[in-house]
Amino acid sequence: MSAEPTAAERFAVDALLGPPSPSGDGEPTQPADRRVVFGGYRHSVESRHLLLPALHAVNDAVGWVSTGALNYICERLLVPPAEAYGVAGFYALLSLEERPTRVAHVCDDVACRTMGGAGILADLEGRPDAHPSPCLGQCDQAPAVFFQRAGEEDTVLVGATHDRVVEVLAGGSIEEVPPIAPQAGDPSLRLLKRIGTVDPTSLEGYRDVGGYQALARAVEIGPDRVLTQIKASGLRGRGGAAFPMGIKWEAVARSPDMPHYLICNADESEPGTFKDRALMEGDPFAVIESMTIAGLTVGAERGYLYIRAEYPLAQSRLQNAIDSARAEGLLGANVAGSGRAFEIEIRRGGGAYICGEETALMNSIEGKRGEPRNKPPFPTQVGLFGRPTVINNVETLINVLDIVLEGGAAFAEIGTGESTGPKLFCLAGAVARPGVYEVEFGTTLGELIDLAGGVTGNGRIGAVMLGGAAGLFVGEDHLDMPLTFEDARSRQATLGSGVVLVFDDRTDFPDISRRIARFFRDESCGQCVPCRVGTVRQEELLARPHGGEPLDEDLFEEVARVMMDASICGLGHTASTAIRSVIDLGLLERSRG
C-alpha cells in the first residue's frame, strides 16, 4: 500500500536509525548513481530487531503510526509492511490510527478498580483519549493512570482523580512523587537497603554505600567462581517458575555456541506486582551492576533490559545508570578492568503482558510479534537470536550482589532449605501501609500482612490474591502459611511474582473475576487455540451469571482444563487458576446475593 511519510515521521525514524546511506540499506539517497547495493536478506535479518524501537520512535513523536511512517520504516529496515503491521498491531500502546496527542490509560485492574480506578474510567467514558488499562504496577499508590504524550515523555499519575486526569489530558503536568519505602532505614534489609535512602541518579552515591564492590569482587574471582557461588546459594528465579539459577547460568556459560546473551526481564506486568519497578526506580545502579556480573559470568557481551513501556521513570533512571557506568568504565569494552566487554541496551515493551513470558520477550526484542515459542528448546540452548541466553527478572538478579560479596553458603543460610535468601512481596489493596516488603522466606502470610499494618476496610479478609492474576485467591485459612516455594506447593498455592493483594469481605468478587477474565482475553497473544478461544469462552461463562444465570461449573472446568493442558505457554496454563480459586472459595456464589 503506497503512502509517503511526513517530515516528522521521517525525522523520528532517521533519529533512531541514522540517515539513509547510499548503499548500506534499502533506499539509497542517490538512485541515479547506484551501481552496488549491499545488504538484501542479510541486512533485513540483522536490522529486524530495530523494528519495535522504530515503531516506538514514530509513535512517541507523532502519537501514532501512519501508513507512510510504516512504509518508511519498512524501507529502511527491509521489513515487509504486512509483517510490520502485524507487529505494530500486537502492542496496545502503538496506535495504527490517528488519535489525540495525549492519551490516558486508566488502570481498572484488580488493585486499582476497588481503589477508585473504575470510577475514574466510568466518568471519562466516551472520551477518545481515555482507555481502560491493565495493571500499571502502581498498586501501592492506586489508582494510577499512564499517559502517552506525542512529542513528550510518557508519564504516570498515581493517586489519580478524575479532575487530575482531565487536567493532564488538557496539557497539565505531573510532578514526581517520592517513592513509597515502608521499610526504609531497616538495617536488616538486603534487597531494599538503598531504596529511599540513596540517590538513585548518582553513581557516586551508589558507590559511597558499597556499590560496585560486587562487580569488583566478581572480576577478581572470575566467572567460574562466581558460578560456584551462585550454585551454592540455592537462588531460585523470582519470576514465578522458581527455577534454580545456577543451572541456567551454567548451561549458558558452558555452551560452545556463541555469542551468548543476557536478558533482564523487567516487563513486570503481572497484575498486583510492582516490586521490580521499586528496585529499578529506587536502586537502578544495583540492577545494572548485577546484570554486568551476570553477563561476565555467562560469557555474554551484550545484555538487554526489556522494560514495560508503562515504567517511564524506571527507564530513564536505568538509562542514566547505564550511561554513568559506561562513562566510568563499568560497562563497555573493558568492564572494570576485567579485559572483558559488556554492554547493556534497554528495550521498551509496547503494552503486552505476554511479553513478560521469556520466549515472547525474545521474539519482541527480535522485532517479531510477542508470541511465545514452544519449549523445548529452552532459552539456555536456543534463546535470543537463536543463541544461548540467560533470562532473569530484576529481583532475581539483584540477589547476585550479596551472593558475590558474602558467598553462596551465607546466602543459603537465609530463608528455608529450598527457598533461600530474602524475598520481596507486593502488599496492596486493603492493607494499611501498601508497598514492597522484604522478608526472609518462611515468614507467614499473616505476619506479612501485619507488617503492612493489617487489613483495612472493614478489617475482615475476604480473600488474598497470591502471586497475581496468574496465581490464586486464598482465604483466611492460609494466613498461617509460611511463604516458601515448598509450602506454597504443598498447599496448591503459589508465590508467583510476590503479589499479596488483600481484599476485604465486602469485595465484589464476581466483578474481580470478570476483570481477570477480561484481562486474560485481552492479553492472550492469540497464537494457540486453547488460550485464544478458551479465554473468550471463560469470559462468556462468567458473564452469564452476571445476567442472572448460574455458572456452568462443569463447562468452566472443561474450558479451564484444556487451557491448562494444551496451551503453549504459562498465560494459557494459568488463565483460569485465579478464577477457579474464587469459585472454590465460594466467593462467586456468596457475593452474588
Binding site: S2, G26, P31, A32, D33, R34, R35, V36, V37, F38, G39, G40, Y41, R42, H43, S44, V45, R48, C74, L78, V79, P80, P81, E83
Partner: protein
C-alpha cells in the same frame, strides 16, 4: 557445456551451497519456483551476488547487487578470473588434472585488471574483488544465469566466460557446485535433448559423427543429413537471400518474437510457402499458407518435457482439444502419410521408446519409471540407473576418464548497438512475473498484476525529459520507434531503460531491438538497444494502470 547441453546441478543443491552468483537473471520473476530453492540456500547462509544492470526483485535479496553496464559481462568475468589467478585462489590441482588451455586463458585475462574491469562495467573495483574472492574461496559455489547472458550478440562467449570461472575454481562436478542455466521455456532443454539443434541428433549425438548417424539410419532405413543445419538466425538470413523458400513453423511466433520484428515479418511474407502449426491464429499464422490447429502440448496430449535440471517428466492429456485441433504427433504422422512415407500413428510412448533405443542418455527412462519417481535426470543409461544429480563428476576421477575440459579465451566486445548523442539511453528488455514472451499464452488469464507495457526509466531520466509517470513517450532506436507510457522505476539507474516484451500488439518492442546475433548460438541481442526517448505532446490521455509491487526481503 563440455559436449552435452545441460545445467550441471540439481535444484536441491542450491539449498545448501555457500555462494551463488545469479548472473543476468531475474529468477524471482522469471523462474519463481527455482527462486524458492535459491532462497532456501540464502536462508541456510549462502551468500548471494546478483549481477544485473537492473536492481530487480531478485537483487533485493542479494548480499551484493552488482549493477554492471549492459553487455559488460565478459569484462566482469575476465576481471574476476584475473583477480582469482593473481590472488592465487585458482584451484591448481583441478586445473592441472581436468582442464586444458589454462595458460592461454590466463594470458587472455591478464589485461583485465580490477581497474579495467571497473572502467568497463561501471562497478567499483573493490566489489569485483570481493565477488572474486568469495566465489573462489567458497566450499561450494554456483553460477546461475538466464537470458541476461544469452540474449547478446556474443552469447556463447558470455557463457564460456562463466564456465572459465568454474573451471578456474573447481566449482563444477561436485555436489553443490556447478553451472546452472535456467531455461526460459518449459521444453527448451527437451528440444535440445531431442536433437532440435542444427548440429545434433537426439541425445546430443553429433550429426557429423558417422557412428552416431549410422544408428539412426539403420533404424529409420533412411540417410540422415551428414552436416549441421541452420539455426534460426541463419535460417532468416537464408530466407532473406532466397535460399530457403518454404517454412514449417511449429509453436513459434517469429513474426513478433524476433528482434527487429518488422524486418522478420517482411522476410516471412517473402516466402513461397509457409505452414504454421499452433494453438492460436498467431501473427505468424496469419501470414501462413496453411495452418494446422494443434493441441496444447502440456494439457491436451501425452509426452515428455525436460527441465533445467535435466529432469525428464511426463505431460499428460487432461482435456480434449477443441474443434479440429490435433496432437503435434498426429499432425506430423498424418503429414508423413500424405507425403507417401507414412509410419502409422504411434503413441507418444512408442515414439519415446524408440528415442530411448537411440539415445543412451535417456535409455533408462521408461514411462513407468518416469511416473513412479516423478521424473528422471539424464544421463540415465539403463533401467537400473537412478538418474544423475549433477554432471561432470568424472572431472574429479583419477585417472581422468574423459577429455579434459577446455578453457576458452573470451574477448570482450561492447553491444553492437552503440550509444551515441542521438541514442543516449540503453534499453534492455525482459519478462514480468505474470506474463510470458509475446503474451499469446499468458494474456488468456486475468492477472491482477498485469499493467500495460510501459517504458520504464530512472526517475532522474524522467525528470530530465520533463515527463510525469503515465505520460506517453516515443521510444526511438536506429531501426524503428514505438509509443508507450512512461513509468519511473527506482531499480533503474539513469541512462538505463526497460521494457517488457509481452504485448507486441500494443507496444511492439521488437521494432526497436537489433538483429545482431551470436554467430555460434544464433541468439539475437535483445538485451542491448540504443534508444532515445521523446516526450509526446501534452494532453494525451494517461492509459497506464501504473502499479508498483513492493518486494521486501525478510
Amino acid at each position: 557445456m563440455f559436449g552435452v547441453g545441460g545445467g550441471t546441478c540439481s535444484y536441491e543443491e542450491i539449498e545448501t551451497t555457500d555462494v551463488i552468483l545469479l548472473w543476468g537473471s531475474n529468477a524471482r520473476e522469471a523462474h519463481p519456483i527455482f527462486f524458492h530453492h535459491l532462497m532456501k540456500g540464502v536462508r541456510n547462509g549462502a551468500k548471494l551476488y546478483t549481477v544485473d544492470p537492473r536492481r530487480t526483485t531478485s537483487a533485493m535479496w542479494a548480499d551484493a547487487w552488482l549493477g554492471l553496464e549492459v553487455g559488460s559481462d565478459i569484462a566482469l568475468a575476465n576481471a574476476v578470473g584475473r583477480e582469482i589467478i593473481t590472488s592465487g585462489l585458482h584451484h591448481k590441482e583441478f586445473i592441472q588434472h581436468a582442464t586444458v588451455g589454462f595458460d592461454a586463458y590466463a594470458e587472455s585475462v591478464e589485461p583485465w585488471t580490477l581497474q579495467r574491469g571497473a572502467d568497463i562495467t561501471g562497478l567499483p573495483p573493490e566489489v569485483i574483488r570481493r565477488m572474486a574472492h568469495d566465489y573462489a574461496t567458497a566450499e561450494q559455489a554456483q553460477i546461475c544465469w538466464t537470458l541476461g547472458i544469452t540474449e547478446h550478440h556474443n552469447a556463447t562467449d558470455n557463457v564460456l566466460a562463466l564456465i572459465n570461472l568454474a573451471l578456474l575454481t573447481g566449482h563444477v562436478g561436485r555436489y553443490g557446485s556447478g553451472l546452472v542455466p535456467i531455461r526460459g521455456q518449459n521444453n527448451v532443454q527437451g528440444g535440445g535433448d531431442m536433437g532440435a539443434l542444427p548440429n545434433r541428433l537426439p541425445g546430443f549425438q553429433d550429426i557429423e559423427d558417422p557412428v552416431s548417424r549410422g544408428k539412426f539410419e539403420a533404424l529409420w532405413g533412411r540417410p540422415v543429413p551428414n552436416q549441421a543445419g541452420k539455426h534460426l538466425s541463419l535460417m532468416l538470413e537464408a530466407m532473406e537471400h532466397g535460399e530457403i523458400t518454404a517454412l514449417y513453423v511449429i509453436g513459434e511466433n517469429p513474426a513478433q518474437s524476433e528482434a527487429r520484428s518488422d524486418h522478420a515479418r517482411s522476410i516471412l511474407r517473402g516466402l513461397e510457402f509457409m505452414v504454421v502449426q499452433d494453438l492460436f491464429m498467431t501473427r505468424t499464422a496469419e501470414l501462413a499458407d496453411v495452418v494446422f490447429p494443434a493441441a496444447a502440448g502440456w494439457a491436451e496430449t501425452d509426452g515428455t518435457v525436460t527441465s533445467s535440471e535435466r529432469r525428464v517428466q511426463r505431460v499428460r492429456k487432461a482435456l480434449e482439444p477443441p474443434g479440429d485441433a490435433r496432437d503435434d504427433l498426429h499432425i506430423i504422422s498424418a503429414l508423413a502419410e500424405r507425403m507417401g512415407r507414412g509410419w502409422g500413428y504411434p503413441t507418444a510412448e512408442e515414439v519415446w521408446d524408440e528415442l530411448r533405443s537411440l539415445s543412451p542418455l535417456h535409455a533408462g527412462m521408461s514411462y513407468r519409471r518416469l511416473a513412479d519417481v516423478g521424473g528422471l535426470q539424464w544421463p540415465c543409461t539403463g533401467e537400473d540407473h537412478p538418474g544423475t544429480l549433477f554432471l561432470h563428476g568424472d572431472l574429479w576421477d583419477d585417472p581422468l576418464p574423459r577429455d579434459p575440459a577446455p578453457f576458452f579465451a573470451t574477448p570482450w566486445a561492447p553491444p553492437v548497438d552503440e550509444l551515441s548523442e542521438e541514442y543516449p539511453i540503453r534499453l534492455t528488455t525482459g519478462r514480468r512475473l505474470d506474463s510470458y514472451n509475446t503474451g499469446v499464452q499468458s494474456r488468456g488469464y486475468s492477472s491482477p498484476l498485469r499493467t500495460a507495457v510501459a517504458v520504464e526509466v530512472a526517475p532522474a531520466d524522467g525528470t530530465a525529459l520533463g515527463v510525469a509517470e503515465g505520460d506517453r513517450v516515443r521510444v526511438v532506436s536506429r531501426r524503428g520507434s514505438v509509443e508507450a507510457p512512461v513509468l519511473f522505476d527506482r531499480s533503474l539507474r539513469a541512462g538505463l531503460a526497460f521494457m517488457a516484451v509481452h504485448d507486441p500488439d500494443e507496444v511492439d518492442v521488437n521494432l526497436l531491438t537489433i538483429d545482431a546475433w551470436d554467430p555460434k548460438s544464433g541468439t539475437a541481442e535483445f538485451k542491448a538497444t540504443a534508444v532515445r526517448i521523446e516526450p509526446l505532446e501534452e494532453g494525451v490521455e494517461n492509459r497506464t494502470g501504473v502499479r508498483s509491487v513492493a518486494n521486501y526481503p525478510a
